[in-house]
């Protein structure tokens, strides 16, 4: 898989943009703007405002998320921020604090 992977010891402080899937195992602070899918894995920490097509969160996200297709909060994830997406899935065991907006 030729995904972009931010490994668990990596910290990026800044901005990630592009047209490719992104797997976050480490820490990303700042802003993420992608047209594809983001996976925040268990060890992943996203302290950023996020714009993407879909996002799947198993780790920690602090910041507002705008997904044009879908946002999925898996069990044991921790999310603080507003989520804007046409489809939002929040699993049992997910911790979430913020507003949900599913309007277009």
């Amino acid at each position: 898989m030729a995904n972009t992977v931010i490994g668990s010891t990596i910290v990026i402080d800044g901005e990630i943009t592009g047209d490719e899937d992104l797997v976050v195992q480490g820490t990303v602070k700042g802003r993420v703007g992608l047209r594809q899918n983001i996976y925040v894995e268990e060890s992943g920490i996203l302290e950023a405002n996020v714009e993407t097509a879909t996002i799947t969160i198993l780790g920690t996200v602090t910041g507002d998320v705008v997904a044009s297709e879908r946002a999925e909060l898996k069990s044991n994830c921790r999310v603080v921020g507003d989520i804007h997406a046409p489809r939002i899935l929040i699993a049992d065991g997910a911790s979430f604090k913020g507003n949900v907006d599913m309007d277009g």
């Binding site: 490994g7 800044g14 901005e15 943009t17 490719e20 992104l22």
Partner: protein
């Protein structure tokens, strides 16, 4: 072509893919493969690989740096910097081991450390400049001089770049600096000294074997052109 086997990401821990653009500071303790574009800075305890299609505009610090793509910025490695065929690097390189393969293109200073640059040539320059005392200082510190002068805007603009010869920004600067006729005459003086090779060569050979210390590469560049 000619990529080192280790530069081929088998299952890279961290990969900036070709469609990705990262702007900012990247730190970490694992290998980093860059196939996309990264602007800012990298600080890593492991190896940075810049793939052939990768573009890095950043100050890079790592244990090892292997470049097959493009890097604009200063590169410092604890162990080695390798420029593979096809690599393009503009910036200064500091590492105990620096390897430049055939087919790589590179412009900048190399500092491998170890023994200090051997004595050479500088003696002449110093002797020449000696009559004008403040001038001699200017040879040593063209930046300070230029900055201090309430000179034309032109000079003022250039001063910041000159101040840090180690920076990328300074690399092309010398070219501009040499036209700075009205600025520091002595800089020009020094330039003449080392640029007009024939004169300086004769001097070198006639006078006692040159023994003075060599100016730092960066500074010599400034003076030379």
């Amino acid at each position: 072509m000619a990529r080192q086997s280790q530069s081929t990401p088998a299952d890279p821990a961290t990969l900036i893919g070709p469609g990705i653009h990262v702007r900012g500071r990247v730190t970490g303790e694992e290998d980093l493969h860059i196939e996309g574009r990264l602007e800012g800075s990298i600080e890593l305890t492991e190896t940075v690989f810049v793939a052939p299609e990768g573009i890095v505009i950043a100050t890079v610090q790592a244990r090892d740096v292997v470049v097959s793509g493009v890097v604009v910025g200063n590169v410092t490695a604890e162990d080695s910097v390798t420029l593979n065929a096809g690599a393009k690097l503009v910036g200064d390189v500091t590492a105990p081991r620096v390897i430049v393969a055939d087919g790589a293109s590179f412009s900048g200073n190399v500092a491998m450390g170890g023994e200090p640059p051997p004595p050479r040539k500088r003696k002449n320059a110093a002797r020449r400049a000696a009559p004008a005392k403040p001038a001699a200082k200017a040879v040593a510190k063209p930046a300070a001089k230029a900055a201090a002068k309430p000179a034309a805007k032109k000079a003022a603009k250039k001063a910041p770049a000159k101040k840090a010869p180690a920076r990328v920004a300074a690399i092309p600067t010398p070219r501009a600096a040499k036209r700075d006729d009205d600025d520091t005459i002595v800089v020009k003086h020094a330039a003449v000294e080392s640029a007009s090779k024939k004169t300086s060569k004769k001097k070198t050979s006639k006078k006692a074997p040159p023994r003075a210390r060599v100016p730092k590469p960066g500074k010599r560049r400034v003076g030379r052109r």
